[in-house]
């Protein structure tokens, strides 16, 4: 037991920081109904401001901390509530997920542009000298952090119990309209809770900085620890969230001592929050996670021509362009074009989930990676290429089902959470095993020979990819117009109505999720065979988040959107040489996704031809309309007068 005490102390310290982040997340979620995926990113920005003030501007530590926690955090909270969320009022839940993802992507990328990706060490904030407790030495800094978190937790609970504003906040959670009727400004109370929540995120980031250093990626992922703890509190209970965070911190810390002896389990401690999140989601009976949401049924705006017929003209035109393109390209440009094609399939498969079913999947990159690694393994066992590619896709179908079934039955938000969890879990735990990359952390793929035609040449391989992608996209377009497609569109509108006419919403959603995983894995196989070498860094889970913002920016509802998304992500950097574009690209996608979250079909939806049918049917345009008739009459009158 004595051996474990130091680990428990460390765990209590980190757990306390997680508790601050998680309680902030719970405050904003319960009061606004918006689950803020960018919670960690908000803390990260505040922490960088703290770092810059302290290291570069020479501001005293206490003042820098106060500015970060009491000014920067709340200001970001105001911006999120007033600028980003208020205009979304009445949008479907998936739009809210997209906006907070866009914010996460934009903030993280922006800070990396400013500060670079390297971790910077941060000097201790509090005294690191220790005092003796029975059986263990405790640092003053550790004790202070635990005390701050405990005080903040108790303060928060007292605030909601005793304070006038706290009681009003609870009232807004229950019924914003009635809150207005009894004379409280519901909008101001919601803004305040965002200020409070973001301030907690900032505090946890600043306290974490000396332990981990300032690093845009690591601090953004603080939200992950918060997810796990908040899941223990079912996303609504503050005391349970606090306890859950402490428990997570302690168990993760003690586990590091265990896994030191078993290197293969090294990913366990960092993955613990997700294991908890996932287990809680899987074990929760339906209805136990009441989704707090302020969204009201309002007419969702749809893209015109969305899924009532096959886009034969668009598809044919694009296919024709794709078919002649390789004759004008060579070298690296041809590789980029091939990669773009594969990404069209990735985005098209993602659009099945995001655009058609209006669910958000945040582990698409994992499917792509597994597609590539599985294909590589099958090639090593001398399975012929085409069956191997098909098998690689099919292998992912049960995986997709396993991820989707527990979450989809709860609600849209929880699918996003579970897939987010699965994405990070897979990266931490499975990527290093022999199922994926193995010890060497790299897999190799070689291009095959089919029917006596070698695909080793880049142009030949391009046409092979084009054929497979065209087949995949055609499958997706057919799904859109079949009964399954109609069901999914209807489900996105009203699951209750669908259940009342005897349709199981879960089955169709899981089905489409599996199809999406299958096609993503195929695309992964094609991409891997293109680059011939794939390593875990090729598609980390941040890509999954980025892809969502790219797809929403381009347009998630139609084929044109998927093509534009692939072009914007893969081909655009070729045109703009230099690193600056690559750095700013995710920032742009993040911001664009926030702006376009509610647009019916992203950029593609903005650039459609006018509806000539409707214009033509307007009476003033039609021959023989009333105005034309009046003109005729007046002309006749003039004529008859002239004759008289």
């Amino acid at each position: 037991m004595r051996d474990y005490l130091p680990f428990i102390v460390i765990g209590l310290t980190t757990g306390s920081v997680y508790a601050l982040a998680a309680m902030g997340l719970v405050v904003t979620y319960t009061t606004s109904g918006v689950f803020n995926f960018a919670h960690g990113a908000v803390g990260m920005v505040a922490t960088f401001v703290f770092y810059s003030l302290r290291e570069n501007a020479g501001v005293p530590t206490v003042l820098a901390m106060a500015i970060a926690v009491l000014v920067v955090g709340p200001v970001i909270g105001i911006v999120i509530d007033r600028v980003l969320l208020r205009r979304l009022h009445g949008a479907p839940p998936s739009s809210y997920v997209v906006v907070s993802l866009g914010l996460l992507v934009a903030l993280q990328a922006f800070i990396i542009v400013l500060y670079g990706p390297a971790t910077r060490p941060v000097a201790a904030i509090f005294s690191q000298s220790t005092f003796r407790m029975p059986g263990v030495n405790v640092g003053y800094d550790q004790a202070i952090i635990v005390a701050i978190a405990a005080a903040a937790g108790i303060g928060l609970m007292m605030f909601f119990r005793k304070n006038h504003l706290g009681v009003q906040t609870r009232a807004v959670v229950e019924n914003p309209e009635l809150t207005e009727l009894v004379g409280s400004d519901a909008a101001r109370i919601t803004t305040f809770s965002w200020m409070l929540g973001c301030s907690f995120a900032a505090l946890s980031g600043v306290l974490l900085a000396p332990l981990l250093g300032v690093d845009a990626v690591i601090l953004t992922l603080l939200v992950i620890q918060a997810f796990g703890a908040a899941a223990v509190g079912r996303l609504v209970s503050l005391p349970l969230t606090y306890a859950g965070a402490l428990g997570l911190g302690i168990v993760a810390s003690v586990a590091t001592k265990f896994v030191a002896r078993h290197p293969s389990l090294a990913g366990i401690p960092t993955s613990l929050p997700f294991i908890v999140l996932f287990v809680v989601l899987v074990l929760s009976p339906k209805g136990s996670f009441a989704e707090v949401t302020t969204t009201v049924a309002r007419r969702v705006r749809y893209a015109r021509h969305n899924g009532h017929h096959l886009p034969v003209r668009t598809g044919g035109g694009l296919l024709a362009i794709a078919a002649v393109l390789p004759f004008f390209l060579s070298g690296s440009h041809l590789l980029t074009a091939t990669s773009t094609l594969a990404f069209v399939l990735i985005f098209a498969s993602l659009s099945l989930v995001v655009g058609l079913s209006r669910q958000v999947s945040l582990c698409h990159a994992v499917f792509v990676v597994f597609g590539a690694t599985t294909l590589s393994h099958l090639q090593q066992w001398n399975v012929p290429f085409l069956p191997a590619l098909l098998l690689a896709g099919l292998m992912l179908v049960p995986v997709g089902a396993l991820v989707a079934i527990p979450a989809i039955r709860l609600s849209g938000l929880f699918l996003a959470l579970a897939t987010f969890g699965f994405g990070v879990l897979a990266q931490n735990l499975i990527f290093s095993t022999d199922f994926a990359f193995g010890r060497r952390a790299v897999v190799e793929l070689h291009r095959p020979e089919l029917l006596g035609i070698s695909l080793h040449g880049d142009r030949a391989y391009y046409f092979f990819v084009l054929a497979i992608v065209a087949l995949g996209v055609a499958t997706i377009e057919v799904v859109r117009i079949t009964r399954l497609g109609r069901l999914l569109r209807a489900l996105a509108d009203s699951p209750t109505a669908m259940e009342s006419i005897g349709i199981n919403p879960t089955a169709s959603r899981v089905l489409v999720f599996c199809l999406s995983a299958f096609l993503a894995a195929i695309a992964g196989g094609l991409l891997g065979t293109l680059t011939k070498v794939v390593n875990p860094a090729s598609f980390d889970f941040f890509q999954s988040l980025l892809w969502i913002t790219v797809l929403v920016t381009a347009g998630a509802a139609t084929l044109g959107g998927s093509v534009l998304a692939a072009v914007l992500l893969v081909s655009a950097p070729v045109v703009f040489s230099g690193g600056t574009f690559l750095e700013w690209q995710p920032v742009a996608f993040g911001v664009a996704a926030m702006l376009l979250a509610q647009a019916p079909n992203g950029l593609v939806g903005l650039f459609v031809l006018p509806d000539f049918h409707r214009l033509a049917s307007r009476s003033s345009w039609r021959l023989g309309s009333r105005r034309a008739a009046e003109r005729t009459v007046s002309a006749e009158r003039t004529l008859s007068k002239a004759v008289a």
Partner: protein, 233 residues
Amino acid sequence: MALLDVEGLRGGYGTTEVLHGVNLRVPSGCTVLLLGANGAGKTTLLKTIAGSLAPSAGQIRLHDAPIERWKAHRRTRAGICLIPEGRGIFRALSVRENIAMQVKGRGVDAALELAASYFPVLGKRANQAAGTMSGGEQQMLALAHALVTNPELVMADELSLGLAPVIVDEILDALKRMRDEGRALLLVEQYVERALELADYVYILHKGEVVFVGEPAQCASGEVFHRYLGSAA
């Protein structure tokens, strides 16, 4: 000068217009009974006056000051109180916290005492979660929301819906007491005969328009109801 003056009010939900130009006056200290069949627009009218719904045209004046652009909470603070249809309470909050929504600090005890003077049961249940009380007790608490801020105009939407007759008596007595204390009331009520005893004026709403304005005595014969509501109420 009327306390509340509604002129040419149009409004509804989104693009669906429910109110097609409603005129209505509530003089200070008077009780107005609003009648109409299902879907006539009674609830919509009350919600638009209270500020939960935005009007598309027309004027709402309180003491001659136009308030139709004010947000709901500002109208409430100015003295208009709507007790909405259903149970207008915060179920997760205790009775005391429900009352504390409107009064700060030391005022809470006094407000709770005032509420208990109308409905003694609320005093006994001060620390109980409001959602765990009986339907009648919940409705008393909803009415208490209107008491503690001392509003000039209380609008009540179907207060007696789904309550036992004994409770209805208690609720209507409380309304009578509020009227006797000089508050103006605008009532939507299904117990028409009982409500007529309270009323100074009667408005009948039909398909979003006012089709009858008169005094309760004119309604005594039942002929008015027959003509405008299609039945002898």
